[in-house]
Amino acid sequence: MRQVIRKKHAGTGHDTGSSPVTTRRSSLLPGSLAVSCVAVLCVVALSGCAARAITISASYPTPLVAKLPLTVGVYYPEALREFSYTEIDDSSGKDQYIIASGASQIALFNTILPVMFDEVIELDGPSTDNPQVDAIFVPDVEEFQLGLPQKTKLSVFEIWLKYNMRLTQPNGDYIADWVMTAYGKAPTATFQSVDIGVQNAAEVAMRDVAASFTLGFTEVPDIKDWLQKNGPTP
């Protein structure tokens, strides 16, 4: 049995050509030293006001499930690829944390789908002309919530996710559309940064998604019906 995930079309790489850079030598004379100090202080002061960016990165284990003899196309919408959540500071009303989890979500599905299905083909668009696949799967995040210990007064970081999962025929006809929720929490620890707490909670939440998805996929009523009527049985 194959565990293949391949792209239908080659991706378009971004040209990272070098941009001209101007450099200037400067000597730190007393006058310029003062200017430099002021500039450094301004940068430090302003960095205290900026929202903290947290990029979720985690590795996921291979699920222990029986493989379905299906070729599934998967399309990751732009909204999922670029998904990020912004936590607002209650007191200032400004952005406090920006949590980017798109890449991690793609990595998660790229780990579990090839184990669940005979073959997985990544599609570049929500095309309705894919005769080589048995079904097209489109995951998307609908909601993301973050619980920080300083706000919830609990000694855990919490992340709650709500997904919309869609499975269609190769021609785009409906097979199933279902909602999945996931929850993850991680305990606080002395001297632990918010970044680490959020990362740990996100990893648990993502594993929860994977667990629910892999164990519950064939239990979704519409998918169950479709498999019984049209699809092969595991």
Binding site: P187, A210, T214
Partner: protein, 243 residues
């Protein structure tokens, strides 16, 4: 002080330990001997262990156990560090038992032992063992017992304050703080041969810590969770070895 009682399958151990000869205590003795004695005598931990045995247990050299933390509760979760600590106690010594690391087991058994999908009762374990791929993976590990640990350490009765000042001529702290830590952990031992409960062990450890500060803050910490870990680990090892 150790008290041991045993009544028809249920036994209770009570153990009191103090940090009288801790490193911080010795430092304090050099500075303030009287204060050291007074506080060190008080910075004690009381650990009480209750054991309930349902069936006889034993384990051979090629068999192993796994210790897992329960993580279904809303407001706390059993810490991985505590599970590691208990595992290291169970695995140490001449009568040590092979313990499969929790993370390795969870990853290998994914997605069957995640917080949402883990078996909560032995009935669920029987259902899980009906799945060939899961049963085979457990057999590959040679796991004879699964131990579920559930609990946390709570801090309360916090009182006092310590304030510190730094000036051109130096700095220092003055004040007094105290708090009580209370560790409660329950362990359930599931027998993978009978797919039933073999027994359970509960550990309750508590102790009061002090932080006097006269120029330098001197923590007199009651090692509550560490004592809960060593108490639970030792009892668990004896339980599984059948001793």
């Amino acid at each position: 002080m150790i008290r041991h009682e045993q009544v028809s399958g249920i036994s209770t151990d009570k153990h009191e330990s103090c940090n009288l000869l801790s490193r911080s205590g010795r430092s304090l003795q050099k500075l303030l001997p009287a204060l050291t004695l007074a506080f060190a005598l008080s910075a004690c931990t009381t650990t009480e262990i209750d054991e309930f045995r349902q069936t006889a247990t034993s384990i051979s050299g090629d068999e192993s156990i796994v210790i897992l933390g329960r993580r279904q509760n809303n407001d706390y979760e059993t810490e991985g560090n505590f599970i590691e600590c208990v595992g290291s106690v169970v695995g140490s010594g001449d009568d040590g038992i092979t313990v499969v690391p929790e993370k390795d087991f969870l990853n290998a058994m994914f997605p069957f032992f995640e917080p949402r999908t883990a078996p909560m009762r032995t009935g669920h374990l029987k259902q899980l063992m009906d799945i060939d791929i899961a049963r085979q993976r457990i057999a590959d590990f040679g796991i004879e017992y699964i131990v579920w640990v559930d609990g946390t350490t709570l801090r309360g009765e916090t009182a006092g304050s310590v304030s510190c000042t730094i000036g051109p001529g130096g700095g220092g702290c003055f004040g007094f703080g105290t708090w009580v830590d209370d560790s409660n952990f329950d362990a359930e031992i599931w027998d993978m041969d009978t797919l039933d409960l073999a027994g359970s062990i509960s550990t309750d450890a508590n102790g009061q810590s002090y932080m006097p500060a006269v120029v330098v803050p001197i923590p007199l910490i009651a090692r509550v969770e560490a004592n809960a870990c060593s108490g639970l680990g030792s009892q668990l090892k004896n339980f599984i070895n059948g001793s």
